[in-house]
């Protein structure tokens, strides 16, 4: 199965190990993620501004590239890209007059007709591949690894783009169970990670990370699993300072879900890029006999 794929900036830079592990795991499942031949920044939040149609041109071009690849589904790995592209696409579908104007900004292009569907890689795994099939491909079950899924906000809100129940999501739990991991349910799995506050108000993000991680350790969690590169960045990198600030603080490694897939599928350790982690996950994985 070939599916058009939109990487976005994170997956080509600090989070390239998530892309590598996603590509490798996907091929185990018979899925080829085909990167758009030419792609443009998802726009982050700029395209969501309703009165500035010009900012929706970049997403529209991404959808045109998708159609050129012969697909009508576009897969993202980054939650931010997912949220922005999905909302922009819905806006264009719901407002044909606005779509017409957006098309008029791109006179060198074909017209975009609103027929592409944006999905997150988690949805592809759940709805198209199926977790049962994933279970069959597991070579090294993550037995005894106590993981706490962490969703953040972008995959669940607003409701019209939610990939799962807003209040009681289960997609990551189900995925991780199929890999053989033990689930630790943290009540703060949807609490904000601090997002971009990490740049100009690090203190805010740092406090949130402390709460999120201690809620996990209190419940016996040994690792946190995210579905968003930004959540991962905050949860992983901000833990370093916490040990100094809070005596007795226990660091917890943070994984991206595709890393654990690759691990469970028995793939080469290189694709995980574990050396990029701030909180070293090697001891934990060794103690469970996973590496």
């Amino acid at each position: 199965m070939r599916v058009p794929y939109f990487p976005g900036c994170s997956l080509k830079d600090f989070a390239d190990n998530f892309e590598k592990s996603a590509f490798a795991s996907a091929s185990v499942l018979g899925v080829e993620l085909v990167e758009l031949p030419e792609w443009y920044c998802c726009g982050v939040v700029a395209p969501l501004e309703e009165d500035e149609l010009i900012r929706k041109v970049a997403p529209a071009r991404n959808f045109l590239r998708t159609k050129e690849l012969g697909g009508n589904k576009l897969v993202t790995l980054c939650s931010m890209c997912y949220n922005t592209l999905k909302l922009t696409n819905l806006y264009m579908k719901k407002n044909p007059d606005k779509l017409e104007r957006i098309n008029s900004f791109m006179d060198e292009e074909e017209n975009y007709d609103g027929t592409v569907e944006v999905i997150h890689f988690l949805e592809l795994l759940r709805d198209i591949v199926g977790f049962e099939k994933m279970r069959e491909k597991v070579k090294k079950p993550l037995k005894g690894l106590k993981v706490a899924p962490y969703y953040g906000c972008l995959l669940l809100r607003p409701k019209e783009v939610a990939i799962d129940s807003l209040e009681k999501p289960t997609v990551m739990e189900d995925l991780l169970k199929s890999l053989g991991a033990e689930i630790v349910n943290s009540p703060l799995k949807k609490t904000c990670c601090g997002s971009y506050q990490v740049i100009n108000n690090k203190e805010v993000a740092s406090k949130l990370v402390y709460k999120i991680i201690t809620a996990v350790t209190k419940r016996g969690g040994e690792a946190v699993v995210t579905s968003c590169p930004l959540c991962h960045y905050n949860l992983d990198s901000l833990q370093k300072d916490l040990s100094d600030k809070y005596p007795g603080y226990k660091e917890v490694p943070v994984f991206y879900f595709t890393q654990l897939m690759a691990l469970a599928f028995g793939l080469e350790e290189e694709v995980l890029g574990l050396e990029k982690h701030e909180v070293n996950p090697l001891n934990l994985l060794k103690s469970k006999g996973l590496i």
């Binding site: 409701k159 209040e167 009681k168 009540p187 703060l188 949807k190 609490t191």
Partner: protein, 651 residues
């Protein structure tokens, strides 16, 4: 044919968008129109007089009033014309407000064009209208009231006191409804035991009221003034003529079941009296839990104990038929199940309870005798968090509407809690505090002073258990800060929702519900007590959640409606009913299927559709379903409709 057209401005509602002069000019050219005139408010006294004068002066034999929806003033204008001798069915309404000026506010020219077409089409229709006389039918001067809460009680008493017979049907073993479950009521802190139970007793003893407790309405046929109702009287397995309500049976019964009356806060037995003040004060056996009834043998302790020999395990349910002229639906409301609110740990944590459960805990007559303790361990909660709008005003997850009563009862509960636990502290999360009633704002101010509760403007995001406490994560939007409270007990003001089974009952009654299941009124502003089915009225929270004061007023209103309907021995009905052309009808039966009022039958001998005009509501569903146009609605004949369409569809 001499048609007069009267164009209403409706203040700015119509004239603000439509070009009245242009309308008059165009309509005057239409064949048959001999007079066109406009006025600012045609429904007002001078407006109506204007129409009457012109009918006489211009010798008009048909009138089109171009104004608002016919559901509003058709009757007004028809009666007006009739008073000067014009047959009322020679008056039609052209709805240029809801169909033209309102929906096309920004496009005055197109809207005017549309209005002209609507008026011309209506002129065409009225030209072919046949003058009609109303149908007259006899009535049964008795009323069925469904639901024995405070609304049903009030409506029943009002009607019975006026001298008419009432059948009051309640599905539970006792009347009293939600009000009987409350501790004390805002804003006066009267206890329902003091103000409702006397009314319950009055119902039981009233010579004009037949009380059918533990019964359900299963079938309704007939029509306004002449309903035939089947009531299922469920088996109680206790002969209520013998039962004295001594409760000895419940003492010996070995089976404990979660109490519905105490909303799960306590347990009752498999044979039980709902509560000590129940009316009727009779025991009922719950067949789902009684050992004898489940296994068909054994136990029978209650039968051995009963001093009156009232227990009868062989009792069967009965269907009784009653004739009534009017029906009042007073089925009330329910509260949303807190376990739906997973983000608040509803259904997961024992100490996250609904406000109705807290009422039982606060009630002096409740399972704890009014001692405030939490369900998990029976300890006195020192920190209580009240969450308002739990499931209300939340279009993304649950109900978009405001549940109306929660602000007031939460304030009351905070006060009662403070009285019971003086060293405890209450926090209240709210979006807005709505105190729109007589004495309500003053009561709220009193609570702020006396209860020393901390009111926090914001929503709660999440509630979970940590270190033995309920951690409440919320936000105070006035300071812009997140709030964390470690609570002993959380009380959710869960949304009010339509009562269970209301949709099924609505089907039986052939009345409508709205998208949530609240009963639909004939007109929200002008006919809030009536349903679209004539002779069926709504009382109380079945229409929409309302407090006790409003419920009692609403119920008395519904009673007055029923009384006015039944004040005469005969009533008049609209003659706009279906007719069958026997030459064309092939007896296919499509119309029988289409009719929701069961007004059509195929005559087995002639194989031709026959209309019961007393049942027909003139909706036209049969006409649309008939493949050969054999069935048509009086004054909505095919010829008329096609003439109208050809005008409306003209480019």
């Amino acid at each position: 044919m001499r048609v007069g057209v009267f164009v209403c401005h409706c203040g700015r509602n119509i004239a603000g968008t439509l070009n009245i002069e242009k309308i008059k000019e165009e309509v005057a050219k239409h064949s048959g129109v001999v007079h066109v005139e406009d006025y600012i408010f045609m429904c007002s006294d001078p407006g109506q007089k204007l129409i009457r004068d012109r009918i006489k002066e211009k010798n008009l034999d048909a009138v089109v009033v171009s104004a608002c929806s016919p559901s509003l003033h058709e009757k007004t204008f028809r009666n007006n014309a009739a008073s000067v001798g014009l047959n009322p069915y020679k008056v039609e309404i052209a709805n240029i407000r809801e169909w033209a000026s309102w929906p096309h506010e920004g496009k005055p020219e197109e809207a005017t064009e549309k209005a002209i077409k609507i008026i011309k089409a209506t002129v065409e229709k009225v030209k072919s209208n046949i003058p009609l006389e109303p149908l007259s039918v006899p009535v049964t001067r008795k009323v069925l009231v469904i639901g024995g809460g405070i609304a049903g009680i009030q409506a029943s008493l009002d009607i019975a006191n006026a001298g008419l017979e009432v059948y009051l049907v309640e599905k539970k073993p006792s009347i009293g409804g939600k009000m009987a479950q409350f501790s004390e009521t805002f804003p006066t802190l009267d206890c329902p035991q003091c103000i409702e139970t006397p009314k319950m007793t009055e119902v039981a003893n009233h010579p004009n009221i037949h009380l059918y407790a533990y019964s359900e309405v299963v079938d309704v046929s007939g029509f306004v003034g002449n309903f035939k109702v089947k009531v299922k009287r469920k088996a109680t397995y206790v002969d209520w003529n013998k039962c004295t309500g001594c409760s000895e049976c419940a003492k010996v019964c070995p089976v404990k079941v979660s109490s519905e009356y105490d909303v799960g806060v306590s347990q009752r037995k498999a044979i039980y009296i709902m509560f000590p003040q129940a009316v009727p004060n009779k025991a009922t056996i719950d067949p789902e839990h009684c050992l004898r009834l489940v296994y068909g043998k054994g136990c029978g302790l209650c039968a051995k104990t009963c001093p009156a020999g009232a227990i009868n395990f062989e009792q069967k349910e009965k269907i009784e038929e009653i004739d009534v002229g009017a029906i009042i639906v007073a089925t009330g409301f329910d509260v949303m199940d807190p376990s739906l609110l997973t983000e608040y740990g509803g259904g997961k944590y024992k100490d996250v309870i609904s406000a109705l459960q807290f009422e039982r805990i606060l009630a002096p007559s409740g399972p704890t005798g009014g001692k405030v303790v939490r369900p998990s361990d029976g300890k006195e909660p020192k920190t209580v968090v009240f969450v308002q709008c739990a499931g209300s005003r939340d279009p993304e997850h649950y109900m978009p509407y405001c549940s109306k009563v929660c602000c007031m009862y939460t304030a009351k509960q905070a006060l009662l809690y403070k009285h019971a636990v003086p060293n405890g502290h209450a926090y209240v999360f709210y979006i807005d505090v709505r105190t729109d009633g007589k004495g309500y704002e003053e009561f709220y101010e009193r609570v702020l002073r006396e209860a020393e509760a901390t009111y926090l403007r914001g929503k709660v995001a999440e509630i979970y258990k940590e270190d033995g406490k309920l951690k409440v994560l919320g936000v105070d939007t006035l300071t812009g800060k997140g709030v964390e409270i470690n609570a002993d007990l959380v009380v959710l003001a869960t949304a009010a929702v339509p009562s269970e089974g209301i949709k099924e009952l609505a089907k039986v009654l052939r009345i409508q519900t709205d998208e949530y299941g609240w009963l639909k009124e004939a007109h929200l502003k002008l006919r809030p007590l009536e349903t679209a089915t004539s002779g069926i009225f709504i009382a109380g929270a079945a229409q929409f959640i309302r407090d006790i004061t409003d419920t009692v007023s609403h119920a008395s209103g519904a009673a007055a409606k029923a009384l006015s309907l039944l004040s005469r021995n005969r009533i008049e009905r609209e003659p706009l009913v279906a007719e069958v052309n026997e030459e064309i009808c092939s007896g296919c039966g499509n119309c029988v299927e289409a009719c929701t009022y069961q007004a059509i039958k195929i005559d087995p001998e002639t194989n031709i559709a026959k209309i019961n005009t007393a049942l027909c509501e003139g909706c036209g569903a049969c006409q649309a379903s008939c493949p050969s146009a054999a069935i048509q609605l009086t004054n909505s004949y095919k010829k008329q409709l096609f003439e109208m369409i050809s005008i409306l569809a003209k480019e």
